[in-house]
């Protein structure tokens, strides 16, 4: 009984809210809100980091810079690994059951 009452209330609300979410007005509003929130967060963070920088305290920005440097090194290592793998046998040698070139051409 209570569930039927809830469903009778929720279903039209769900339909209306899902349609509203898909509307241009909602998406415009959401995009502006999202960008505003991001900008405010960034500006607050910058101000805080400048203040912390005066005292020589490491900030989130410093940490992100280190993370990105380490990530860059890891990517270089991966690229070296990939170069080594590219010197391995060609695909047709790795996959002996692969169709021959004429068969591939026919398939295309």
């Amino acid at each position: 009984m209570l569930r039927r009452l809830f469903d009778a209330f929720e279903r039209p609300l769900a339909a209306a809210s899902e349609a509203w979410v898909q509307s241009g007005a909602f998406m415009d509003l959401l995009a502006v809100g999202f960008k505003l929130q991001r900008r405010l967060t960034a500006e607050t963070r910058d101000a805080l980091e400048r203040a912390l920088g005066v005292w020589g305290v490491p900030t989130r920005g410093d940490l992100v810079a280190v993370i990105n440097q380490l990530a860059g090194l890891e990517r270089q290592l991966r690229e070296l690994g990939a170069q080594a793998r590219r010197r391995e046998p060609a695909p047709e040698e790795r996959y002996p059951s692969a169709p021959s070139e004429p068969a591939l051409a026919a398939r295309r």
Partner: protein, 348 residues
């Protein structure tokens, strides 16, 4: 025998307190498996079985936007366990959640490097000469690009499940970028990833009253241990999003969303392009009518876009999660997918 009203209230109180205390978290991903290959964040798992009855082996390529335990949620609703029980030699290509080192990954990183590497390892490990691929959600996009762009790979069959194709039909999240209300840079963070939180909030916005309905469903069935276990497992998975590599996201927005290249059938890729019409192997396109994340209208065109003479459509009456876990999955999706692959495999 069904519990009396009083018994239900007692069970509801007991389970409610356990949920509030964070107890009775269902153990997920219980199927025994072995790690057989790894490269960077890619992991290839082989599920243990009593000996496969069909060849070639089956490789599931998981999505980049969620965790793979949805495929092995609970023993009685596990797609993985079902396929192993049906006699398939099952492998899963899974991704450890990306970090800053993966931020510049592109679709090519997965399609040209990780997946071919995993297939090579699978063939070596199993002694097979071919493989059947299953791509789930965004994993389906990866398998489509792979099969279309790598005809030299010995792919016997291709199954895609809940895989987006026409991004005009993908709804609110896609439209935000397609209509340039947002650019990829607006959601990519300082280390180059789309945060998991952004994806979670996006999915939740699709159905604003969903949280309320879920809470009511939970309260209504709180006395039912079986319901509760399934509910908690699916809720845990739905909130357990992973970050998305910024490089792949930029490409997804530019190529898949704004150019709608999959629906056009020609996808700019690597130094050239790949054509879905080049997919000549048997193809199964499985999608769900009530899928709010990958709507059926988005997946539907794939069946006619591939070049295969043996292209089949499997339309299910379920949602995105109910596709691999739930009653529809158990009664329809899993048996039909398994039958389709079995008919295109050899019995050992």
């Amino acid at each position: 025998m069904a519990p009396t009203l009083l018994e239900r209230q007692v069970l509801r109180a007991r389970n409610g307190l356990a949920v509030l205390a964070g107890e009775n978290r269902p153990p997920v991903a219980q199927s025994p498996r072995d790690l057989i290959w790894r490269r960077d964040k890619a992991r290839l798992w082989r599920y243990r079985s009593e000996g496969p009855r069909y060849r070639p082996p089956v490789l599931i390529v998981h999505s980049l936007v969620s965790k793979s335990y949805v495929l092995d949620l609970l023993p009685n609703t596990s797609m993985v366990r079902y396929l192993v029980g049906e006699g398939f030699d099952l492998f899963l290509l899974d991704w450890v959640p990306p970090d800053a080192a993966d931020a510049e990954n592109t679709l090519e990183t997965y399609v040209e490097d990780y997946i071919p590497g995993a297939i090579q390892a699978l063939l070596r490990e199993s002694g097979a000469e071919e493989v059947s691929l299953i791509g789930y959600c965004f994993g389906g996009v990866l398998t489509l690009l792979l099969t279309a762009g790598h005809p030299e790979l010995p792919i016997r069959n291709l199954v895609v499940m809940a895989t987006p194709c026409d991004y005009r039909e993908m709804g609110f999240m896609s439209n935000m970028f397609r209509e340039r209300r947002l650019d990829p840079g607006d959601v990519i963070d300082d280390i180059g990833l789309v945060p998991a939180r952004a994806l979670d909030e996006g999915f939740q916005t699709l159905k604003p009253t969903d949280q309320l309905v879920q809470s009511v469903n939970l309260f209504q069935n709180l006395w039912n241990d079986e319901f509760l276990e399934g509910f908690l497992a699916i809720s845990q998975w739905a909130r357990d999003q992973v970050p998305f590599p910024g490089g792949v996201f930029r490409q997804t927005v530019d190529v898949l969303i704004r150019r709608n290249a999959l629906a056009e059938g020609v996808i700019p890729f690597g130094r050239g392009e790949v054509r879905l019409a080049d997919i000549g192997c048997p193809f199964l396109n499985a999608f769900a009518e009530q899928d709010g994340i990958t709507p059926a209208a988005s997946s539907e065109p794939l069946t006619r876009l591939v070049g295969s003479d043996d292209a089949t459509e499997l339309r299910l009456e379920s949602g995105h999660v109910g596709f691999v876990a739930g009653r529809q999955a158990a009664k329809v999706a899993r048996p039909q997918i398994a039958d389709w692959i079995r008919q295109r495999s050899e019995e050992l």
